[in-house]
């Protein structure tokens, strides 16, 4: 039994913590206004060598597993989840390519994206399989995707996947949050460059995708908790720090407990998947818990700051919006509830 963090992961977390503190957090509002991290921030991130963190080594990537990814996402998400999405230009689409087509597919489709720093990938999680063949027509609209462009679109259905290079028009939308990632309505009109059918691959890719977004949520929720806690210890009301009023202290405790529970569920699910175990139910459950916790923690981060929380001078309103936005991704929480409930009975002993 071991709850500690691996040495290699700790080094990555330390590097990303320093980067996030120096580059992301101070530029939070600037990146939001520009709808992208600055070129300097992007260049600085690229220098760290973590752009291809999830890309298999056989496809010239770093080849690290989902447990490392969730630790990295938590660290970046705590500083600026929108920027974290923008900096990881492949995003969770890499899990789809890898699960269905292995390193060859990752090299074929993700390789060109990594070579051109201006390009982005959009992942579209769909409720139904399209039944496509290679060269088949792909049309449709995605109301919101946290990207400013979509040079490659990867589609993930319940038992299939497809890719489309070009053929996606990205039209800016206002969006609830994650502005630093960009925000677009995607109009799809192109042909499938590759198609696959494999339910097990689809379920694995979706499980990893859920953990990808859930771990960003963990970061945002930690920020809500820690920032509001620090504020409550400084702000004085009725002659004492507001945190020393028991109603406030208990709220902070409950926020802390909620986030810690999500963190443990996310890391446990990631650990299972990385060990080659069946982590589908655990990943779906972790995503649900993250989303459910976000509805408690996000608004209370604002609540603790009172009127200041509602104003853009403080980051709590941003955290509340972004937590809500992240929970809409990865196919949404209702689908996760369906999957988690359907898979629950396959687990047997709760140990």
């Amino acid at each position: 039994m071991e709850f500690g963090i691996r040495d290699d992961d700790q080094m990555i977390v330390d590097s990303l913590t320093a980067f996030a503190g120096e580059q992301l957090r101070p530029n939070l509002r600037a990146a939001e206004a520009a709808r992208a991290p600055s070129p300097e921030v992007r260049a600085s991130f690229a220098e760290l060598g973590f752009e291809a963190l999830d890309v298999p080594e056989a496809a010239n990537g770093v080849g690290l597993g989902i447990l490392t990814r969730v630790l990295a996402n938590r660290t970046l998400g705590q500083a600026d989840a929108g920027a974290a999405l923008a900096l990881d230009r492949l995003g969770p689409a890499v899990y789809v390519l890898d699960a269905f087509g292995g390193a060859e597919a990752v090299a074929r489709f993700a390789g060109p994206i990594l070579e051109n720093p201006e390009t982005r990938v959009a992942l579209v999680v769909e409720d139904e399989d399209r039944g496509l063949s290679e060269g088949g027509r792909i049309t449709g609209t995605v109301p919101w995707a946290p990207v400013d462009r979509a040079d490659l679109v990867v589609g993930l259905g319940p038992a299939s996947a497809w890719t489309m290079q070009g053929g996606a028009k990205a039209e800016p939308v206002k969006s609830i949050g994650l502005h630093a990632a960009g925000a677009s309505r995607l109009t799809l009109d192109g042909v499938a460059a590759a198609t696959w059918t494999d339910q097990a691959a689809a379920e694995l890719a979706l499980a990893k995708t859920r953990l990808y977004y859930a771990s960003l949520l963990v970061g945002v929720l930690y920020d809500s908790t820690e920032f509001s806690r620090a504020y409550a210890m400084e702000r004085v009301a009725f002659g004492q720090p507001v945190a020393h009023h028991q109603g406030m202290a208990f709220m902070i405790v409950d926020m802390f407990n909620a986030v810690e529970q999500v963190r443990l569920l996310v890391e446990d699910a990631a650990r299972r998947i990385e060990a080659g175990q069946d982590g589908r139910q655990h990943a779906a459950a972790a995503f649900i818990e993250a989303v459910d916790a976000s509805r408690y923690v996000g608004p209370n981060g604002v609540q603790i700051l009172g009127g200041h929380g509602f104003m853009r001078d403080f980051p709590m309103e941003k955290a509340m919006r972004e937590a809500r936005a992240l929970g809409l991704l990865a196919g949404g929480v209702e689908r996760a509830r369906d999957d988690a409930a359907a898979l629950a009975d396959t687990l047997g002993d709760a140990f």
Binding site: E2, G4, Q240, A243, V253, Q261, L264, A285, A341, A350
Partner: protein, 392 residues
């Protein structure tokens, strides 16, 4: 993060499962239906002794597991409580006070009061008395008074909700030499059950956890020899000192057992989940997406609570401060147990309302876990002190 449990610990869990299924759960149900603890001469207790079922004996007889002591306690505690939490508390042995005696007792006291438990061939119990009618969670505010005399000490006061006190050979009683001096004046005394002045013994009727005694008693000019003072005579620590003496031993014991209670809550929650799932499958209710959603919620909450509890245990085993994590685990697991049992009642429906289904008993049992050894609110105060410096 690596959470696989070792084959050695798995074997201990399987052994606990076998005992729980065949002995502890039937005994717990028998006590629950009777509305009172099983009598001391019930065959269950003799079988418990004959089979070496105390946790210490089980661990000593098993191949050593690589997990730490606290992690083993949590895993086994969950399994024991899964079958019947109350029967765990009702188990013969020195139980809860043994930790305090080992931590703060003199060598002579360890030999005299704990020694016999290693050799008993018939069931015997010991007990620890902290709570008073006017004070539950505020351990520093107790009023049971100890007055020094030429022969030793005279104790006066009242205690309530004390586990196994009516059947115990001795009760370790928390007192104060001077209520105005707070924790520094606290002392604990071994009071043998036959001591004159140990009186007014009343076994409470309870909503749940009926299989062990919760006892109220009065100490009325109860004389005890000086060598019955836990730790013996020692200089009085400075006012407010909390790390030593009776108060320190008490708080140390409560800190250590907080994750133990969390483990118990996990067991109760898991039992409620399993019973609700079994019923839903057999009745066909599981076809309803609403029922499946409820079961998923129960499973998810149990899993999160278990991770918290195991993390707190792992930290204790690795000598990391876990004050925050153990309180967190206690808060979350107790609430999960209560909620899981309540949702289980909804799934089982009128069958549960009729009172014969296991989940109905678990619903009544679970509530106590958010009260004992520091209520959920007290745990939040502890966390608040650590997180935001909540004033004392």
């Amino acid at each position: 993060m690596e959470l696989q449990i070792s084959p050695q610990l798995k074997k201990l869990v399987e052994d606990a499962r076998e005992w729980g299924e065949t002995e502890a759960r039937p005994a717990g149900l028998e006590a629950d239906r009777a509305g009172s603890p099983l009598p001391v001469d019930h065959p269950y207790f003799q079988k418990f002794i004959d089979r070496g079922r105390s946790r210490g004996e089980r661990l000593a007889a098993a191949e050593p597991a690589p997990e730490g002591r606290v992690a083993q306690m949590v895993v086994l505690g969950e399994e024991d409580a899964y079958w019947d939490r109350g029967m765990g508390v009702a188990s013969p042995g020195a139980g809860f006070p043994s930790g305090m005696v080992n931590a703060a007792g003199t060598p002579e006291q360890k030999e005299r009061f704990l020694g016999p438990f290693a050799h008993h061939t018939t069931p015997h119990w010991a007990s620890f008395a902290l709570t008073e009618p006017g004070g539950g969670s505020d351990t520093a505010a107790f009023r049971t008074h100890a007055r020094k005399t030429d022969k030793g000490y005279v104790l006066n006061g009242a205690k309530c909700f004390i586990g196994n006190a009516a059947r115990a050979d001795w009760v370790l009683v928390q007192t104060t030499l001077d209520p105005t001096k707070g924790r520094a004046a606290q002392r604990a005394f071994f009071v043998e059950r036959s001591t004159p002045g140990f009186t007014g013994v009343k076994i409470e009727k309870k909503m749940g956890l009926r299989s062990y005694e919760s006892v109220s008693f009065i100490l009325e000019d109860c004389e005890v020899p000086a060598d019955h003072l836990l730790g013996g005579e020692r200089p009085e620590p400075k006012s407010g000192a909390a790390g030593s003496g009776a108060y320190g031993a008490t708080m140390g014991a409560l800190n250590a057992t907080r994750v133990g209670v969390a483990a118990s809550a996990l067991g109760v929650a898991r039992a409620a989940y399993d019973e609700a799932r079994r019923f839903a499958k057999e009745s066909g209710a599981i076809k309803s997406s609403r029922i499946r959603d409820k079961l998923e919620l129960m499973l998810r909450k149990i899993r999160g609570a278990r991770l918290m509890t195991l993390q707190a245990a792992w930290m204790a085993d690795n000598r990391r401060s876990n004050i925050l994590e153990s309180s967190m685990a206690k808060i979350v697991t107790a609430e999960v147990a209560q909620e899981t049992a309540a949702l289980g009642m909804e799934i089982v429906g009128l069958e549960a309302g009729a009172g014969d289904n296991l989940v109905e008993k678990l619903f009544r049992d679970a509530k106590a876990l958010n009260i004992v050894e520091g209520t959920g609110q007290i745990q939040r105060v502890i966390m608040g002190r650590n997180l935001v410096g909540l004033p004392r």
